[in-house]
């Protein structure tokens, strides 16, 4: 017999049992398991393991996006499965006050994410403007006699790029972070993704101030005149700002 489990998408404040009209992981029905004023949003699953495939990840985020339109949502991380409905109910019971407190603390707030990347041409332009070193290196690379020499020259050129990038990081990216932090309830720096990433940050903002926040992002971008690319994602559930340690369910 297949092991049945309950895949959990998140926790909302909802006293009524509801069945939603959007599908979950494996196209299963999405519904609530309630305890007093709170509900866990789940779908049944027979999967012993949840693969982080595009399809499964999309199902997880699509359900959360739909919930976020109607509710304040405490998002569960991807791939969380309880053994049965009773276990989910006990999670709600055992963590009731903590979850409710967190829902109220985050009420009316959303997460947005901003990534800033340096623009290749702008860095090259700045390097060429400063000195002729880059052009000299380029010429040498084309006439170098051995792979080792090429590698050394490339490494030297890379060092030049790195110094510019480090400079931009402290001068521009940190400024962007500080200005946006002012408009936020909370802010958090994440690890950079890739070599071109100057800033990877998450902000918790009042839903009502999202337009203002976005306008500020556009304004900052315009001010940097093509030096950097901005990538803005939101609204998102507050993944980075939920700060509740769940009590393990007692059997």
């Amino acid at each position: 017999m297949p092991l049945l489990g309950e895949y959990i998408y998140g926790i909302v404040e909802e006293a009524q049992y509801l069945k939603f009209n959007f599908p979950g992981i494996g196209s299963a029905d999405v519904y609530t398991i309630n305890h007093e004023r709170m509900a866990a949003v789940v779908s049944d699953t027979e999967l012993p393991e949840i693969d982080p495939t595009r399809k499964n990840v999309r199902a997880h985020t699509v359900v959360q996006e739909a919930l976020l339109k109607e509710y304040n949502l405490l998002p569960m991380g991807f791939g969380m499965v309880a053994t049965d409905r009773g276990e989910v109910r006990r999670l709600l019971e055992d963590n009731y006050d903590g979850l409710l407190g967190e829902l109220h603390r985050l009420a009316g707030k959303i997460e947005v994410e901003l990534k800033v990347f340096w623009e290749q041409e702008a860095v090259v332009k700045e390097l060429q403007g400063e000195n002729a070193e880059l052009s000299r290196l380029k010429a040498k690379i084309n006439t170098a006699s051995s792979p080792v020499e090429v590698q050394n020259l490339l490494s030297t050129a890379g060092k030049l790029v790195e110094s510019i990038v480090r400079h931009w990081k402290t001068r521009y990216a940190e400024l962007v972070y500080a200005i946006l932090q002012e408009l936020s309830c909370e802010a958090k720096m994440n690890n950079p993704v890739g070599i071109k990433n100057l800033l990877n940050a998450s902000f918790l903002i009042e839903k009502s101030r999202e337009c203002e926040f976005k306008e500020q992002v556009y304004k900052l971008d315009a001010g940097f005149q093509g030096k950097m690319n901005f990538k803005y994602v939101g609204p998102l559930p507050p993944y980075n700002f939920v700060s509740l340690k769940l009590e393990p369910v007692k059997c």
């Binding site: 012993p48 693969d51 990840v57 991380g77 499965v81 390097l127 590698q151 490339l154 556009y218 994602v233």
Partner: protein, 68 residues
């Protein structure tokens, strides 16, 4: 304008970076297949050091070793 805005990230590694180990997590309930994960996130989380980093920076502005 160089601001790209969207409701959701397009890249899978990018989304996973947000939704794994973040939000509410109950260790006993994690049922993610780890094998698939390593392949997906290795690129996004790779940390480079020394010469390797400089070569990456050179590559990022279009400088690579000429074809032999």
């Amino acid at each position: 304008m160089a601001v790209q805005t969207s409701m959701a990230s397009s890249g899978l590694a990018e989304v996973l970076d947000r939704i794994l180990d973040k939000g509410l997590v109950l260790d006993a309930w994690v049922r993610v297949s780890l094998l698939g994960l390593e392949i997906l996130t290795i690129e996004a989380r790779i940390v480079l050091a020394g010469v390797e980093t400089y070569l990456k920076y050179a590559e990022a502005i279009g400088l690579t070793a000429p074809a032999a």
